[in-house]
Amino acid sequence: MTVVEDTQLAQRVADDPEAAAVFGRRLSPRVRGLARHLMGARDGWEDAAQLSLIELLRAAPRYNGSGSLERWSDRITVRTTLRFARARREVQARQGDQDPEHLLAPPGADLVAQGEVLGILERLDPTRRTVVVLRHVYEYGIDEIANLTGVSRNTVKDRLVQGRREVRQHLRAQRARPALKLVRTGQGA
């Protein structure tokens, strides 16, 4: 589908239910994937994805085709999801029922539980995971990530390198103890 056709599609979303359905089906897998990767396996990512999809449908008429529909969708999804995560963290911190530092991280997520790759990503510190996911899963550049997450370029680079080091540690441990893949302790998420 060309950018022109994407633009036409987006502009008809408000008035044409079929266009809205096509639009939603097209973007939904990407939105859900991105929300899930940003929030981790913890409950709440589906809410973030739903909010993002609603936001995308609202914003559709403003899509002007200056970039791909997917990249435009990512921008809205990242911002909506991070905003949702922050709000959720604040509410739960006020309620005192959870350590706000861990609201984005699944407690005890193990490598077996989610498959090796997802398991490693979900073990990362949340701010680092956001950068690693945007850089390596969604292949955004450093400047784009800085723009998406509202932090400086240097902060993005620092979080990326720290995140990669975390991943490296997990990979080395995984390779050193392959039998761990088969061990279930019952302590996982």
Binding site: A19, V22, R30, R32, V161
Partner: protein
Amino acid sequence: MNADRDRWADLSDRQAAEEELTPEELDFLSTYPETCDECAYERNWWAELPELQPEVFDGNTRPEPSARGRWRVPARASIIAVATAAAALAALWVSTRPTMSPATSLEARLTPVVTTLPTSTRRPGRWRAVAATGDDVAAVNAMADTGDVVTSRTGHACFRHDLGVVLCVGSSTRATLHGENERPWVALSAGRAVAELEARDLSDAFFVQTPTGRATALGTMFGVEVRPDATSVRVSHGRVAWKADEGGATETVEAGQAVDENGPRVLSSEEMAAERWLLRGGLLWRGGPSATFDLERPRGECRAVVDGRQFGTQRVWLRLPPGERVLSWEGCDDPTREIVRLEPDQHVHRGGSSEPPSDTPAEETSSASPAAKLMARARAAHAQQRLARASQLYAELMVRFPSSPEASVAPLALGRLLLQQGQGPEALAAFDAYLARGGGLGMEARLGRIQALAALGRHEERAAAIADFVERYPDSRAAQALKTDPVDAP
């Protein structure tokens, strides 16, 4: 050793952070993993991550239809789409029997500037050259009569019969074209040929015979390879009935299967990719007025790309419908792009000593490896739902850079794409290929495999695959969903 390993890790981090590296550092970064398994493992791990983009498993193992709905753009001649639409309408015979009509010996040979035969002289029921590559092969740009012989050396050549058969022969191949005003067939003496059949009357049978037997194909895309010691038949779409000359029983080779001297086996995604790659130039023209392109790379390792189809770094000759064509040169230091308007019967030459106009795509200027660039383009096409284009790029990646980390994950990406297009057998073969090679996304590949089996209605195998999945990833969300999945449902 650890110092080198740490240096590699540091450079890898710096590259990810978009810091500038010296040529020596880049060289170390790309070559050191050959001696460091740990580094190669990590490099591959990172290379696979983009495959996680769209995946959130919601418990549905049955493939969804394309999300493009009525907004779908009518696809340009797409290898996959055309092949699917034309399924089971014809059969092909490639024969090696020496009792053919006397050959008029029309040998494929290098013709630096290929002349164009006026389309008004075209008669039905004959072969015409439609594409060729290679430094020592241009094209046979004329009518081919019964018994004409085509010999390719380093490149490939494609021919189209008016009754709707496209045949491409690979390098080191010798074939005899038959079918003047009759059903088309081809005698393959040596080498490799791939055929795609358009919609044809089933009664107008087309079949395949090799030195060791006959393959009567009811499929639209299949390949035959004749080697000194054996013959193999590979079926990408449709079915082929294979019967050995020695009088053995007829075996049916289904889509996604191959049969050779060792009997039937699963067709690997690499083999399917190679078949598509060979056919890529043969499907651009489907009869009617035509014009021709003769493309020589201007310099370095540039490869020609016409309307998004890549043709490698060899010289390329193509027959195309008249109209606007996008010609670009990619993979070199100064990629370019131009729009060429082709008039009927016009011959256009580009490249060689001539300088194509400059129009550098931004994405070609990065320092990423050629395989990474190709993968990026494939993923971009996939994300934009340009599925035929993405499929072509994944296939090209696997063929051109088979040992790259990107190629190792390409079968998984290709499997998902094929599944999206409803091509269950091919998708299944792709997922199996990924799992056989191994990689970090085994869970995702196994989910894809379950979906492919569901699409094919192979419920018992799907149930077994689900059981295996649940055992391997017992606490995953996918396993939880699969446990409640009605495995026997159609």
